[in-house]
Structures are given as C-alpha cells and as structure tokens.
C-alpha cells in the first residue's frame, strides 16, 4: 500500500470524530464514526518495579482503572478508551505487562457488563530495543522480548496494539540539539522509516494472528522531544515545527504496512496521517499538560477521534487520584465536541476553527497543525514516492508555509526565530533528490558509536 492521494481532500470534511475509515472494535465501539471518545492513560506513582513489588503494581493498576471506570460511568460517558503504555520493566518481563493487561481488561469488561459503557483497550509495549547500546533493532533478546510482549498483551485482552518506536532516535537527539536538518531527515526519512517498515509488518502479523487491531505509532521521541526543548527555549520553535512535519512520512510507513488506526495520542503528526489515510487518530492537548506543557493545547482538538491526556501518574490531588481527575477532564472536553457535531458539520467546523484560531498565530508549531496547512502539506508529501523523498519534501513544504505565514504577518516570529527559519531553509535546499546520494553524503557525519547502521540495512 502506497498512499498517493488524500483520503480527506476537503477542509469541510476534515473534522473531529469522523473519518472515512472508522474502526469498529470487537464489542462494537466505533472510533471515528461520529463521536469523539476520551482515551485515558495512566502510570505508576514513584516506585521500583521488581518481582517483589508486583503485587503493589497490580494493586495500583486496579485502583487506577477502577477509579477511571467509576467516574466514566458516573459522568455518563458514551464510550471510553484506555491506553496502557507499558513501562520498560513491564516489557522487559512480558508476563508482567500481560498481567496488567488482564487486570485492565477485566475491569473494563465488568464495567461494560454492569453499566453498558462501551470500552476499548489499547496496549503499547515499550520499545526496549534501546536497552542495547547501540540499539539492536532486529535481533537479540530485547527484540524477542518486545515482540513477545505484543503477543502476550494481545492474548491478555488488548483490543489494539501500538508502539512509540525509536528507530533513528539514537542519532536524532543530537540532531535536534545541533539544529541539524539533514541529520534529522536521515534519522526520520531513512532510518526511522526503514525501521517502521520492519516493525509494523511484524506488529500487523501478530495483530492478525491474535485478532486485535494494529493501531499506530508515534514520533513522540523525535518531535515531542523537540517540542519540549522548544518550550524550554533550548531550540527554536520553527525548528521544532519543521521536525514535526518531518515525522509525517515516517509515521505513515506504519499505515503502509498494516496499521489502521487510531493513531497514537502523542503523535501530533496525526492530523496528517488522518488526512492521508482516512483512518481515525487519537490526539492530546490542554488536558495532557499533566504530562507535558505545549503551545498546541487547543489546535490539537481540531480533528481527533479519540482525545487523550497523554499520561498521568497515580498521585493524589485534592479532587481525586490524578487518573480520575484526568478522565473527568477528557469527558468534559469530548462532551463539547460531541454536542457541536450533533448539531451538524457546520457547527463542528466552527468549533474546530475557533480552536485553530486560538493557537495558530502564536507559535509555528501550532501553525503547522492548522487543518488547511495539514491538507496542503499532506498533498505535497504524498506526491513523492518514497519515505526519504517525502521527508525531504516535508522540509520544503513546512519551511515554505512558515515563511509565507511570517511574511503575511500570520506568525510573529522573533529575530532569532527568523534567523533560524532562513538557516533551516538553506539547509533544506542542500538536500539532494537522490536518496543514495543523500546517504553517501551524510554517512561520514554519523556517529558510529551511537548507531549500528547494519540494523537498518545500511
């Protein structure tokens, strides 16, 4: 499967809660079929995970899922998706992650049976391949344990499988800090994309075998790392915005190898994925500030099908345990969306546009999430045939959009940001069209201590 046209070509059809290829879970919950549902994610409060502490781990997850389900019932949520993102330790010992999956599944099933609340469970093993340094992407015990974690979690009751994979990240962190556009393109458009093809063929195969949904990936470790660094003024905002768009072709590879959505919440490249593939996406914003601050808290609400809090640890707040607080916030956020869309597509579009307008002029990272910009750039991306060429084209398109917005006064960039916009534009111009030529040119600059290129077929 190679995408070459937009699944959602018209802005008026590019809305939250609806998509051309909605997904129906086993129990009938439809994602992207009209309503936006909350997707809640939670994690342990400070504790060490060992065989001895597993009873406490299970107890905490039981407490969290119970609190969340009770509150969702109380607030008459029309549906609820829970994401269980495995901690590294729970993936390193796949049986532990599977046991937690079972706990979550059984509480969700009980809630559905008792109160009729339709639920879904997304399980996201950790990409533990990084535990080897340099990471071994296709061999060794970490790879085996990771795939076993997918299988056991699927068998333990996951509805959907996902991952935040890290192929290429071993050199991308430095590329971010160096403001090194070609290296970022190499990490995402070459390394990451190749790894995604490898990974997602296997995840899709496991999913088919186990009867679960291969949902999607997230370039979180790339673009959200950049976003957080930009929030701390460590790197330019325009650079973080460009990196966001550079991740699109990489994340699209999952869908070209079997993923069918909903794409992961922290993947802010999601709107692009939705426009191109037509599959539903999760997204997160203001309610996810518990996990990370961001300049895109409202605009992220423009086109999601699931609305998430990213993740919150199990600490006590005055109102309730934090996961319960989070699910309440997500339910109210989705209530508003669903009321507007129940009135009609015009009303949903108005609400979408207000969210867009409220953020898009204040930060280039918000600007590249404008639905009209997403459609425009997405069209350019899929005009290219390969991940590298698409990523290269992403750089051109994102930079062009930002330059135009800046010139038109739609973005108010500082002197420093302006300087970086120029600098990145020059760097982009130097990207050769031919992938082999690009690779040959960049390889001498790659830190071989950090990466095993053979793991990427290089």
């Amino acid at each position: 499967m190679n995408y070459s046209s937009l699944a959602i070509p018209r802005l008026s059809d590019f809305l939250f809660g609806v998509c051309p290829r909605p997904l129906t879970l086993k129990n009938g919950l439809v994602i992207g079929g009209g309503q936006v549902y909350p997707e809640i994610n939670f994690t342990l409060d400070s504790m060490i995970i060992t065989a001895e502490s597993m009873p406490q781990v299970y107890e905490q997850y039981t407490q969290m899922i119970t609190g969340v389900c009770d509150r969702a019932v109380e607030l008459h949520a029309p549906g609820l998706v829970v994401e269980f993102e495995l901690l590294p330790d729970l993936t390193l010992v796949p049986e532990w992650g599977a046991e937690v999956t079972k706990i979550l599944r059984s509480t969700l099933d009980e809630t559905e049976a008792k109160h009729g609340l339709k639920t879904g469970l997304r399980v996201t093993p950790n990409d533990i391949r990084e535990f080897a340094r340099p990471p071994l992407m296709r061999q060794g015990r970490y790879v085996e344990d990771m795939f076993r974690s997918f299988e056991l979690c699927a068998e333990a009751g996951a509805d959907m499988l996902a991952i935040e994979s890290t192929g290429g990240k071993e050199i991308h962190d430095e590329a971010i800090l160096n403001g090194d556009l070609p290296m970022s393109v190499f990490a995402l458009g070459v390394l990451g994309s190749r790894d995604m093809a490898y990974l997602w063929e296997r995840i899709t195969e496991i999913s088919r075998r186990c009867g679960v949904v291969p949902s999607g990936d997230s370039a979180c470790g790339f673009a959200n790392t950049a976003m957080v660094l930009a929030e701390q003024h460590f790197i330019p905002r325009v650079w973080a915005a460009v990196i966001r768009v550079l991740t699109v072709a990489r994340s699209l590879v999952a869908f070209e190898h079997g993923a069918v959505g909903p794409n992961k919440d922290c993947a802010y490249e999601g709107p692009y994925i939705k426009a191109i593939t037509g599959y539903p996406i999760a997204l997160e914003g203001a309610e996810a500030s518990v996990a990370h601050l961001s300049p895109i808290g409202n605009i992220a609400k423009a086109v999601p099908d699931l609305w998430s809090n990213e993740s919150v640890q199990n600490v006590k707040l005055l109102g309730a345990m934090a996961p319960t607080v989070s699910v309440e916030q997500l339910i109210y956020a989705t209530r508003l969306m669903n009321v507007a869309s129940a009135r009609g597509a015009k009303e949903a579009g108005m609400l979408r546009d207000w969210w867009v307008e409220s953020d898009s002029h204040l930060d280039p990272q918000a600007y590249v999430l404008r639905p009209d910009v997403v459609l425009k750039i997405s069209e350019e991306i899929i005009a290219e045939p390969t991940p590298y060429k698409r990523t290269r084209r992403s750089a051109f398109a994102a930079l062009e959009v930002l330059r135009q917005a800046n010139a038109a006064g739609e973005l108010n960039l500082s002197k420093m940001e302006n300087r970086w916009l120029e600098r990145l534009s020059r760097a982009a111009e130097g990207l050769p069209e031919d992938e082999d030529e690009f690779i040959a040119g960049i390889l001498p600059q790659v830190n071989r201590k950090k990466i095993a290129l053979s793991e990427y077929g290089l």
Binding site: T43, L44, D45, S46, M47, I48, I49, L87, P88, D89, E130, F131, R133, D173, E174, I176, L177, N178, G179, D180, T225, L229, Q232, H233, F234, I235, P236, Q313, S414, M416, W420
Partner: protein, 210 residues
C-alpha cells in the same frame, strides 16, 4: 587584546579562529590559565548570558562549546604541565532502567561550557557502575538523572549504595529529571537539585563552594 579576541571567537563559535588565537597567545607567553579563564570560559559565560536572554539557542551554544574544545585541545597539555585545575569534575549518568538521555546530555554540555570536566556514563547506569566511576575518576560531583516515576527511586538506591561502598563522603550528589523535586532530593539525601538543564550549572558551582 588577544584574550578578548579569543573570547569573541568562542562566542561566535569560530573553532578555527579559536585554535589559531590560542596557539598565538601561548607563543606570546600569555599564561595558559588566563587564556582559559578570561578567554574561553569567559566567552562561554557570555554565551550563557546570551542564551539566558533568548539571543542564543542550544545549537549556538554547542557550536561555541566546540570552538572552546578546539582551543582546549591545544591548551590542555600546557594546563596539565602548569597544574591548572578545571572548575571541577562531574560524573553524569541516567539511572538504572532509564534510557532517557537528552536532559543529561544538555546538563553535561552546559557544565562543560562552564569549565567542568565531564565523565558521561550514559543511560541505564547501575549503582555499581556509578561507584566504579567514582573510584576511577574521583569526581567532585556525581549527577544523576531519571525521567520515569519508576526509575527515580533508583536515585535513592544509588545514594544508599554509595554509603555502603564508603564513597558517599567523597562526592557531592546532584539529581534532576521530570519526576524529581527538590523535596525528593532532600529526602534521599542528595546535595543538590536542578529543575532543568539550565539551572544545573549554577547548582554545581554552588555545591563546590558550599
């Protein structure tokens, strides 16, 4: 003044120029310590100020740091000969079970810019590896980072292991990372805490004075 030129070249991140000027200064018998302190470290100080004020980002700082490293390559043999000390030696690592390293790397980079010598142990560093590094490198400070709520407790474990190994008294311990608070740092008996990479340098300096 050649010292001012070195400083300016560091600020501008011109490694070639820094190397050339440092060599020239040494020829002119400018004391190595003066080149280091008033030229290069002072230049990085200015870079830090520009960063604070939003005139520089990390990429610019890295370029300046690399220019300084270039000059240091020439200066270091002379410094060793003259027995000039660095601002301090810091062993850095992300604690066991945790693979996040960009924050730690930033801290290392900023400390280096401030004249500290860095030994980076990487990620997923066990208490034993930290202890080994203390014995081998005899640092002034050990900096630990954690990004997960479930690896943060390994900071506590590591400090306890330092105590048991009898090396706790020989170093100051600094901690940081997303779930870490000043309160937690106090509870586990760390000497210092920095809420972000930015504030780590000031904290490290404070620790070595205090």
């Amino acid at each position: 003044m050649i010292i001012d030129d070195i400083k300016q070249a560091v600020i501008e991140g011109d490694a070639t120029e820094v190397k050339k000027l440092v060599a020239l200064a040494l020829e002119q018998q400018v004391p190595a310590e003066e080149i280091l302190k008033n030229g290069m470290i002072s230049g990085m100080g200015e870079v830090g100020r520009l960063f604070e004020e939003g005139e520089y980002f990390v990429p610019e700082m890295l370029i300046a740091a690399r220019a300084m490293q270039g000059g240091l390559g020439i200066l270091r043999p002379v410094l060793v000969e003259q027995d000039v000390k660095s601002a301090g030696k810091v062993v850095l690592g992300t604690v066991k079970g945790d693979l996040h390293d960009i924050g730690k790397n930033l801290v290392g980079m900023m400390l280096e810019g401030a004249g500290f010598q860095i030994v980076d142990l990487g990620t997923d560093v066990s208490p034993e590896k930290f202890i080994e590094a203390i014995r081998e490198h005899q640092p002034d400070i050990v900096g630990m980072s954690a990004l997960l709520t479930t690896t943060m407790p390994n900071m506590d474990k590591t400090i306890k292991a330092f105590n048991e190994a009898g090396v706790r008294q020989s170093v100051k311990v600094m901690v940081g990372g997303a779930p870490v608070t000043k309160k937690y740092a106090g509870e586990i008996g760390a000497d210092g805490f920095a809420p972000d990479a930015n504030q780590a340098t000031a904290e490290a300096k404070k620790l070595l004075v205090g």
